[in-house]
């Protein structure tokens, strides 16, 4: 057995890195074990073809919790978040388009071409969304209480949340409670009539999930995204690629004393007298630690890296009942030239933000129908970004790289499996779909790379290709994430913790789960002493 650590963190994704940085800052000796050759997990950049750098997982970033940013000094570690302006471009096949930006006037002018009423309501909607998102942000930064019998300190925390809500004013409080369980359709029916605007917001609300925008609970995801990005129209990216976010976190963790080993694949968690005692690697190495925190998902960690026979059958049942249902794929294209969209001249600023193929809410819903029956959407919802517009150095001279998020591509295909042919067919569908809006695109594709939900599972250990390590639905949120009764980062195995996005609050790469998990681990350690 090699040397022993106070804590081992499994997986160098953003949350694992945040956890390790906080544990190291508290004086613990920390070892981070990453199976791949680089840090970042599904938030990393890769050179897919010589000179072409892509964000193969997430291609946008969340704004990190101010405490994380400050505590870890991420600015000093080279992280710079850049907002694209405009943030979203929605092309239509008839040559019209919608541009949304954080500057209200750009958006309202663009929306006005579709609906004057919608243009007039845009600013109000943004204010409303920020209000709801503000409440969610508060929820995202506290550990879930023990429900239904909260402890005294839980009551205090809940009371603070309640007060925060109350500060909003009674009407706002009622609104928050009312809108969160809604479907995106119900929410948007109350606000907007123009189809591209409804479509692009619906797209934001369904990303990463298997549901369509007419499904109850999808409004919550729209507000969650506003909480993460600051605005429904924002596209936030680290300069240099999403990998820079993870690199900055890794640098901060190292700076605090944590050791990070890549290409170290954990085989299982070691137990001693029923308690976590370290990990065994695939290569046979055993490393001991008093605390093991896993950034992998709940199923991967507790059913894969540990022995389910050690767990209470009811708990195992609950673990197995977690819904993952990944339905998101990524397609990466090397382009010889920039796409030219119908009705808009050249390489304007519209190409600098997210390009959303979401002409209407119904379009997005129809795309989701296929997934219900285990098929890939024939006309998928797409969100494409071309980081090389702002940063030409991410591709060889004169070339561009386009990263496309595709929905819906269900992990469970009813006919067939995610083999090379299925992946190829998916790429065909994506290129054809884009070609309907930008006719020069299909001819400019020089190389393409597909990451299916099965591929994501293999590459990043994301169960069923779920980018959130479990659906972000109301029944898998807060005190019910990952499993009701176990929402406080602990597991039934003493000393083994979860710190990935499969725990509260989950969602995009905000680092919040890792932050809260680290605090839980440190609190427990203090209690033991």
């Amino acid at each position: 057995m090699s040397r022993s650590f106070d804590a081992i963190v499994i997986g160098a994704g953003p949350n694992g890195l945040v956890t390790s940085a906080y544990l190291a800052r508290a004086g613990l000796s920390v070892l981070v074990l990453e199976q791949r050759d680089r840090v970042g997990g599904a938030a990393s950049s890769e050179e897919l073809w010589p000179g072409f750098r892509f964000d193969t997982g997430a291609h946008r970033s969340a704004q990190l919790h101010p405490a994380i940013w400050r505590d870890l000094g991420l600015g000093a570690h080279g992280l710079e978040l850049v907002r694209s302006d405009p943030g979203v471009f929605v092309p239509l096949q008839d040559g019209r388009h919608l541009l949304l930006a954080e500057s209200a006037s750009t958006s309202t002018d663009s929306i006005r071409a579709f609906s004057a009423a919608d243009a007039d309501r845009w600013a109000e909607f943004n204010g409303f969304a920020e209000m709801v998102a503000g409440f969610l942000s508060a929820v995202f930064s506290v550990e879930p209480p023990e429900i239904p019998a909260p402890s005294r300190s839980d009551m205090f925390a809940l009371g603070r949340l309640g007060l925060g809500l109350r500060k909003l004013g009674r009407r706002e409080m009622e609104e928050v409670v009312r809108v969160l369980p809604m479907s995106c359709l119900e929410l948007l029916d109350e606000w907007f009539e123009s189809e591209p605007l409804r479509g692009v917001l619906a797209g934001v609300a369904v990303q990463g999930g298997a549901h369509g925008p007419m499904a109850t609970g999808t409004a919550f995801n729209l507000f969650r995204r506003v909480a993460e990005s600051g605005s429904p129209a924002a596209l936030l990216r680290p300069r240099g690629g999403v990998g820079r976010l993870s690199e900055a976190l890794a640098s901060a963790a190292r700076g605090a004393g944590a050791e990070i080993r890549t290409e170290s694949r954990v085989k299982h968690v070691l137990l001693k007298e029923g308690r976590a005692a370290g990990v065994a690697l695939e290569d046979g190495t055993e490393i001991s630690a008093r605390t093991v925190a896993s950034g992998a998902g709940p199923g991967v960690t507790l059913l894969g890296l540990s022995d389910p026979a050690m767990l209470d059958p009811e708990f195992v049942r609950a673990l197995k009942a977690i819904r993952y249902r990944g339905a998101t794929a990524k397609v990466h294209l090397a382009l010889g030239e920039l796409p030219r969209f119908e009705g808009i001249e050249g390489a304007g600023r519209h190409l600098g933000g997210a390009i959303s193929i979401s002409p209407s809410l119904e379009y997005v819903e129809r795309a989701s129908d296929a997934a219900k029956y285990g098929r890939v959407s024939e006309a998928p919802y797409l969100e494409a970004v071309i980081p090389t517009v702002a940063e030409p150095e991410l591709a060889p001279q004169g070339k561009h790289g386009m990263s496309v998020l595709v929905q819906y591509a269900p992990y469970h295909l009813r006919d067939g499996t995610w083999d090379a042919a299925a992946a190829d067919a998916l790429a065909d569908t994506v290129v054809e779909t884009l070609g309907r809006y930008a006719p020069n695109l299909p001819g400019s594709v020089e190389a393409r790379h597909v990451l299916t939900p099965a591929g994501m599972e293999q590459k990043w250990s994301l169960q069923e290709g779920s980018v959130f390590q479990g659906e972000m639905t109301l029944d898998q949120f807060f005190f019910a994430r990952p499993v009701a009764g176990w929402a406080r980062y602990r597991t039934p195995i003493e000393g083994l913790y979860l710190c990935g996005t499969g725990t509260h609050p989950g969602g995009g790469a905000t680092g919040n789960s890792g932050y809260l998990a680290a605090h839980r681990i440190l609190k427990d350690a203090k209690g033991r002493r």
């Binding site: 239904p148 009674r170 219900k372 029956y373």
Partner: protein
Amino acid sequence: MGREGGYDTIVIGGGHNGLTTAAYLARAGRKVVVLERRHLVGGSTVTEEIFPGFKFSVLSYVVSLLRPEVIRELELPRHGLEILPLESTFTPLPDDDYLVRWADHDQTRAEIYRHSPLDADAYDRFGQLMYRMALAVKPILSMVPPDPTSLSPKDLRGLLRLGKHFRDLGEADFFMLYKLMTMSSADFLDEWFETDPLKATMSASGIIGTFLGPRSPGTAYVQLHHYMGEIDGAFRAWGFARGGTGAVAESIASAARELGVTIRENTTVGQVIVRGGRAVGVALEDGEEIMARTVVSGLDPRRTFLRLVDEGDLPQDFVRAIRRYRSVGSSGKVNLALGELPNFTSLPGDGHHLRGAISISPSQDYLERAYDEAKYGEFSSHPYMDVIIPSLIDPGMAPPGKHVMSCFVQYAPYALNGGWSDEKREAFGDAVIDTLSQYAPNLKSAIIHRQVLTPQDMEDEFGLTGGNIFHGELSLQQLFFLRPAPRWADYRTPIRGFYLCGSGTHPGGGICGGPGRLSALEILKDGAR
């Protein structure tokens, strides 16, 4: 103006809730008049002889949620209420198999065992769970919803009571209830069963009256809502009323009359008269004015506030809340007069399987596909149906040797593409008959008469806004303290002396009587306010 007729309370609408309110108020000594637009009382709870000799429960067709306290306190059995048990649920399958859940537990178990031994075991445990869940929700059905955004002692007391109730449930049941409140019925059942027709038939109760598919979150709650009547310990309240559902309304009307209530049919209220912010009576469409110090509306919230009241008498916020209150119909009704019984190829003959519900729900995908069509504005070409043949249980409903058959059909969207017309109504009726004929080929030739009701008809003839059978959807954001609008869930309205008592108030739709009773109790609390 004096007291014409000397009434102190006017109830608008002689539906079962309006009649219930009237009866309770009269029991407390009030002098009450009920004004009913049609020639008979009952509202959506009516029996009508549409074709000579054939009596139809025109809209609602089974009794399940009728509150035991209403039955007891109004002594409804003495006034003629007799519930004939609904014995079984028969699901014919396209491959000439079937699934029946019989009245007899052992027989049901054997039948489910035939499809899946695992499911036979799970069925018992599931039944016990749902029983516990129904008990957990029951007290909530008979309480006036407290407003969590209010600091009034009354609301705080209610909230504390609710908090204690949830704590007393224990952790496991609380979490299960949370899942039921937030999950889709398909997902919920997937955790328990593997037999597709069993899951489909059970999840169908989660979509009744909603504009959601079984895979949409929120439907598990509707399923529980329907379960509640079925397993109510106090009274076997799941079944047909002898004489059709109209007999329920008639028994309440009879109780009300005995208590001194005056019921005026063929009396259409045009407007509620408001003076100085308080309701003082109503103006009928024929110009007559009836004055009273209390006015109660059993109509749905949208009809009540957007048609009977001058908007100027209401706060703007409230009008906005009512305008966005969702009341979109998704179901139709087809009533058939038959010369002979349908003969199902999967289970031929006129055995016991015809004496209960016949459910056209062969698979979850089938239901989901039916929903997909409706989402985009078409009625389902192969709809979900809940069919009963009341004349088998209650021969008085049809001439000797003949039968009546009631088909509740989903989905039929209120906002049909191009709108409803006579042709569309008949095409919808044909789709229903064609679908049923696939299972019972003799049906077409057995039909003597048919009555087809679309959501548009339900609005036009029965005053259900949007054709919604629950007076507004039973979605999370329209339940409990949000039904029909935040701050106004206690049956009071912004107009003093004016109250609601219909299904658009807590606890919601179905032949329930809960809203009517709770409303009366609140009115009495206010005294001569």
